[in-house]
Amino acid sequence: MNISGMLYGSKLLDIVEFPRTEVLGPESSNQQIKELIARHGEVFIKPIFLGGIGKKGKAGLVGRAKDLKTALKEKERLYFVEHKVGNNIAKANGVTFEAAIPAEHEIYLSLTDSTRYRAPTMMMTHVGGVDIEALPKDQIAEIPFDPTTGLKSFVITNALADLKAPREIISPLAQNLPKLWDLFHHYGMTTLELNPIRMSQVKPGSLTPLACDFKCGFDRDDPRVRRLNLPSDLFAVDYSDFEQEINQLRTYQGQSDVSVINPNGTILAPTFGGGANSLVTEFLGDDAIISSDFGGNPPYQKMREVMRICLKHWLKQTNVLFIIGGKANNTDIFVTFRAMADALREYFSNHGPVPIYVVIGRGGPNLSRGLLTFKDVLEQLGLPYRIFAFDSAMTDVVRYAQAADKWMKAGGREMLAKQLGIAA
């Protein structure tokens, strides 16, 4: 759950009255853009990407214009532009027009929870506007502080003094930066980054820090995010239909975390436990359709619903249904296995059989009853299967599932389909 750019950034900064550059959204009229250029001499045109993709400047995706004609041309170029950073590909939907702020000093500031200090930590430099990673260490101040008192002016003045920052920027930053703590701490953020903050002479004789770019990440488990009334589709880009459907079941009783790994994968692996998730994701790689953690002792109804959604989206393409977890501490195997077996049976009775090989590896409370329940259903459905308990190495069970997938791809699926009286 991330936001980048000034379209929403400006609205969030306004909540705590942090000064910022003037921003117009994609719906702005030509007249408004013209006036913005007239007021500031120049505007930046930036594509709007939902989610948290960055490095637009480096990719040449920031336009500049000193007249309306150029501004509109840049708008046309950037409105639906595609941007790739690592594995992330984002498609723009609109542009912002942001006033260019002439400034001598550019500040970088971020707030996040540092695992080095186990405290909220401010990172700042007065040599901003560049990649923070590219700067030498002595130009960056990294200061943890106490969350019960928050980010105080003295933390900022001390940091700027250590950085030997020019005198004229210290006071305006000490006055304004503490406001960001309120935004960060009270609205469920996990990171907040302003880069650059340009020190501008809004009033003659004194500098004002104007935020010119914005990035933040939210904690999906923090109800404080709802205080912002952000449009629900703002984060929808992060999730596929399948993930959104599962996310609706997200409660604190029982995990229901999923991520689609490969929509063309052939192993559907409902996984139990964060550890098992890491291991299984690692070993299955692109064979897996989803990465999931359904542990945490989910109740029957929730487990059945989670499984129903998994099957609805993915069972047709699945070669191997692979139910895997370690030796559960508290997750009731009978309850969860019964729910999953019932969902599988329900799928078969509603949609007809699907040729799948079933591989199971699990341990935990009520194990015998749980395994027997699943076994009975698999027998009824006429599916080939192997059920391993916790005394088999989990990685070997994963490899077994991969071998089953390989066999299914090499003609096994057709044979099984024929046996079930359906097309492969």
Binding site: D238, D257, G273, S368, L372, R386, T395
Partner: protein
């Protein structure tokens, strides 16, 4: 990263031996919550009783029952302390939004609280920040959130979560290895893996993997070095966070770092903190541990890289071997002989006859103990067990699709059910699948032998109730009331006996004629429930009927093999158990369903039988048909036809009758009839299923039908009679009937339009035409009820004509053509039912045999016959799944109307 000095300052824990000690006393917040209720009693008794009290706001005075006695519950921590309890460990099971305040309560109210374990998942980072700050201020050690606590195998102490599961002593074997794991599940899994190489544990810690980890690797390694019991450690580490950077320790370590592939994901799954950036991803962590352990690669069985300092693995299955290799360099042998091994051991499997390669066709192995015994015991269980839940307005039997209005019973649409006879649909509702011809032969015999109520005082009672002017449902309720538990108990005991005798015999099909019954050993006590010394004429008639129909049943064969005289109850039980057996063995139905099946069969008989007066029940015949013929030949559908229409059906007449009954078996759990049935079960308390009175539940269904629900089919019939009374129609099935339907429709449409206009002008309500229009299927230019479309096509395919149905189709068009309706209304399912029934009854109505009152009664009774099927399904489903009194409505949802 905190340095050594900081570690000493940030934790009270000097040695791992201090983490979970016999002197620790525990207070559990939200002790009565779902998870704690299961876990805390096990932890408490494993630890010799270390939980002194728990809190649950508003539940002061309650207790948590444990094997070592009750743990008291208070509203808050202060009350517990005031009551004289002292504790030094707080365990938090609160929901996420309450965790921070719970921690603050613990540290502020009790200065003696020095350890806090937070089990809760999804605690906001915001709250963890505050918890971290407060805990450091007060010098309290926090574990979690999102962890499973700490366990000490030496002291037999488990505090916090559920490490080791429901049997901690199985996995937490005393040994020399400390475990620190980001995954709660893997803490236990690693402990069980270590046992396979002969290693036991000292202290096991599930650290959690949120962004904030309070008892982090740096605190762990510091305490490990100071723990004389621990000779080595295993750490299981996931990406994200700098907690493992620059660690120092003086004991051997096997570090398992996973998550290289995970860097491809864009968000955390499972563990909120398990997302690495460029500097704290899995590769970076592998490098940190390589530097710490002075190894230049990853340990694998093929390339066992390790030093005296330890080894790095990326596969948890390699942990035991790597540990043994490292300890060997120190000259240290495992703690005990290996217990089991980690090779692939399939406990269950079936290739279903497919030619799978040898690497997939692994031979099955016996489960280890105690699972082997458990599985053997559980495998003896006959039939399914469904989890009990509140079943108000819910059903595992039927479901109506709100879009198509088509109901499915046991997953079969009523439109498809209409293609099956009554007896098949009865089996469908109760056994969740359509039966075969042999099952029908069996069930038809059972039903036929009980429809004739001659000599049974019940039929006189039914006559009396009918003569008092009651509606058919009230009359049939009386009949059901007479079929109480005492009348069926012997048959139920016989079913129990069959299940005992054959449950583990390997028999899968009730009609398996080659099954060797000679191997079934029966005790005299069991035989007593099945046979008598003297011949039972009813039993003999049934056996003769079965023979005449060629019905096969292992149980009937078995009864005959006993060499004495089977009782009629035993024969009935043998019949129903044969029908149920396959579903029972495949755990599709419960034992309860199987043992109630004779009851359902007899209720169906009596409902059909009581539909006619005592004058039709003669000693040797029913409605003029010889008993022997009914038992030997007739189907339940045919007998129902006979009772309703008083004549022997021809195949042409039977088909629409069967369709009619099939269509009305159910309209989902929301209909009044189903609600009546479910309410009656709920009131008896399905959690004690043997006390649920199936006949009373059937009365619940009957009393929840009436002139509006069930009897309203007659409105359509009445409407059609009004239209056709003055015609010379003799046979409603003749396509060349000679009646000008178009003119008739137009005339009625115009008359209806005029009446509508007149009524509107004086403000009167406009009456609807029965069988036309539907609240769902409307608004299109031409509207169709898909159920009517399906049936029209079905009859057209069979070349069957129905003038009443044709009139309805013509009428909706005429209403539109003449401007009475804005579009072409649909002919709805009620119209089809009325048309079907009237077509059957028309000759007798025309001849004067049937009065209009008799027509109304017949329409209502037909509904009851069909609906008995669906309601039997609801009754059985609610009995098997429901909770006591679960259909009541909460007072907060009820309102007063003045």
């Amino acid at each position: 990263m905190d340095n050594d000095q900081d570690v000493k300052l940030s934790t009270n824990i000097r040695s791992l031996a201090e983490l979970a000690t016999p002197t620790d006393r525990v207070c559990v917040l939200n002790i009565l919550g779902n998870e704690s209720r299961t876990v805390t009693p096990i932890s408490h008794s494993y630890s010799g009783g270390n939980v002194v009290f728990g809190t649950a706001p508003g539940k002061q005075g309650k207790v948590l029952e444990t094997p070592l006695g009750n743990v008291p519950v208070y509203d808050n921590v202060r009350e517990g302390l005031d009551a004289g309890h002292a504790f030094n460990v707080g365990v938090v099971y609160l929901p996420p939004s309450a965790v921070r305040d719970g921690v603050i309560e613990l540290v502020r109210v009790n200065p003696e609280c020095k350890k806090i374990i937070i089990l809760t998942e999804k605690v906001p980072v915001h709250d963890s920040r505050i918890i971290r700050s407060r805990a450091r201020l007060r010098k309290v050690d926090v574990f979690g959130a999102n962890c499973l606590g700490i366990a000490d195998a030496w002291n037999h102490i488990r505090i916090g979560g559920a490490l080791g599961g429901d049997k901690p002593e199985e996995t937490l074997k005393k040994g020399s290895v400390a475990i620190y794991s980001n995954s709660g599940n893997f803490t236990t899994t690693i402990a069980s893996y270590l046992m396979a190489a002969g290693w036991g544990t000292t202290t096991s810690i599930s650290s959690g993997k949120d962004v904030y980890i309070h008892f982090a690797p740096v605190e762990f390694t510091y305490a490990l070095d100071n723990d004389a019991r621990s000779k080595a450690a295993v750490m299981y580490i996931e990406p994200g966070g700098y907690y493992e950077q620059n660690l120092k320790l003086n004991k051997p370590l096997v570090a398992c770092v996973v998550g290289r592939w995970k860097s491809k994901l864009t968000r955390a799954v499972g563990h909120a903190g398990a997302m690495g950036g460029s500097g704290d991803n899995a590769e970076a962590k592998e490098k940190w541990f390589q530097d710490l352990l002075q190894v230049d690669g990853i340990y694998t069985p093929e390339n066992p890289i390790c030093t005296t300092r330890g080894a790095l693995v990326t596969n948890i299955a390699h942990i035991p071997e790597a540990l043994t290799a490292v300890m060997k360099l120190h000259g240290v042998e495992p703690d005990f002989a290996p217990q089991g091994d980690l090779t692939l051991k399939p406990w269950f499997g079936n290739t279903q006859g497919l030619p799978v390669p040898p690497e997939l066709d692994l031979p099955l192995v016996d489960p280890i103990q105690p699972y082997k015994d458990q599985i053997a015991e559980l495998s003896k269980q006959v039939g399914a067990i469904f989890p009990r839940e509140a079943m108000k307005d819910r059903s595992g039997s039927s479901l109506m699709d709100p879009k198509t209005q088509v109901t499915k019973v046991s997953g079969v649409s009523v439109l498809d059910a209409a293609g099956y006879p009554l007896e098949s649909n009865y089996c469908l509702a109760l056994l969740h699948e359509h039966n075969d011809a042999n099952d029908n032969a069996l069930l038809n015999t059972a039903i036929a032998c009980d429809v004739n109520l001659h000599g049974n005082p019940l039929i006189d009672l039914v006559d009396t109730v009918r003569a008092a002017g009651n509606s058919p449902n009230t009359v049939l309720s009386t009949a059901c009331a007479a079929i109480g538990p005492n009348t069926i108990n012997n048959a139920r005991i016989a079913v129990d006996t069959f299940m005992e005798l054959f449950g583990h015999s390997g028999l899968m099909q009730g009609d398996h004629s080659d099954f060797n019954i000679a191997n079934i050993e029966t005790s005299p006590e069991q035989i007593k429930h099945l046979v008598t010394d003297t011949p039972d004429p009813k039993a003999e008639a049934m056996l003769a009927g079965l023979a005449a129909r060629g019905a096969k049943s292992v149980f009937v064969d078995y009864l005959k093999s006993l060499g004495q005289h089977p009782t009629a109850d035993a024969v009935l039980a043998a019949i129903t158990t044969s029908i149920a057996w396959n579903a029972l063995m495949r755990k599709k139905i419960t034992r309860t369903t199987a043992r109630n099946l004779p009851w359902y069969a007899r209720l169906m008989s009596v409902i059909i039988g009581a539909a006619v007066g005592s004058d039709k029940h003669q000693k040797d015949s029913f409605c003029g048909v010889a008993n022997i013929d009914l038992i030997n030949k007739w189907s339940a559908t045919e007998i129902a036809y006979l009772a309703l229409l008083g004549e022997t059906p021809t195949p042409e007449k039977l088909f629409p009758f069967q369709v009619l009954l099939g269509l009305i078996i159910s309209n989902g759990p929301g209909t009044i009839s189903a609600q009546g049935a479910k309410g009656a079960v709920s009131a008896d308390g399905p959690e004690t299923p043997e006390r649920v009175q199936i006949n009373k539940a059937m009365i619940g269904f009957m009393t929840h039908t009436g002139y509006s629900h069930g009897g309203n089919g007659y409105e359509g019939i009445q409407f059609l009679i009004e239209r056709f009374a003055n015609t010379d129609l003799q046979d409603a099935g003749k396509a060349n009937h000679g009646i000008d339907l178009a003119t008739m429709s137009k005339e009625y449409a115009l008359a209806f339009g005029a009446e509508k206009k007149a009524r509107k002008s004086v403000g009167d309500a406009v009456r609807n035409i029965p069988g036309i229009n539907h609240p769902i299927f409307k608004g299109q230019l031409v509207n169709k009820d898909p159920r009517e479309v399906y049936l029209s096509e079905l009859f057209a395919k069979r070349g069957e004509f129905n003038i009443f149905h044709a009139f309805y189709s013509s009428l909706v068009q005429a209403l539109y053509d003449n401007g009475i309706t804005a579009n072409v209304f649909c002919v709805n399912i009620d119209a089809v039912i009325a048309a079907l029934l009237l077509k059957l009854l028309w000759p007798r109505y025309r001849s004067g045999d049937f009065s209009e009152a008799a027509l109304e009664s017949a329409a209502f009774t037909a509904f009851l016959f069909g609906r008995t099927v669906g309601c039997a399904g609801e009754i059985d489903d609610h009995t098997n799944r429901g909770r006591n009194m679960d259909t009541r409505t909460a007072a907060s949802k009820c309102s007063f109307v003045s």
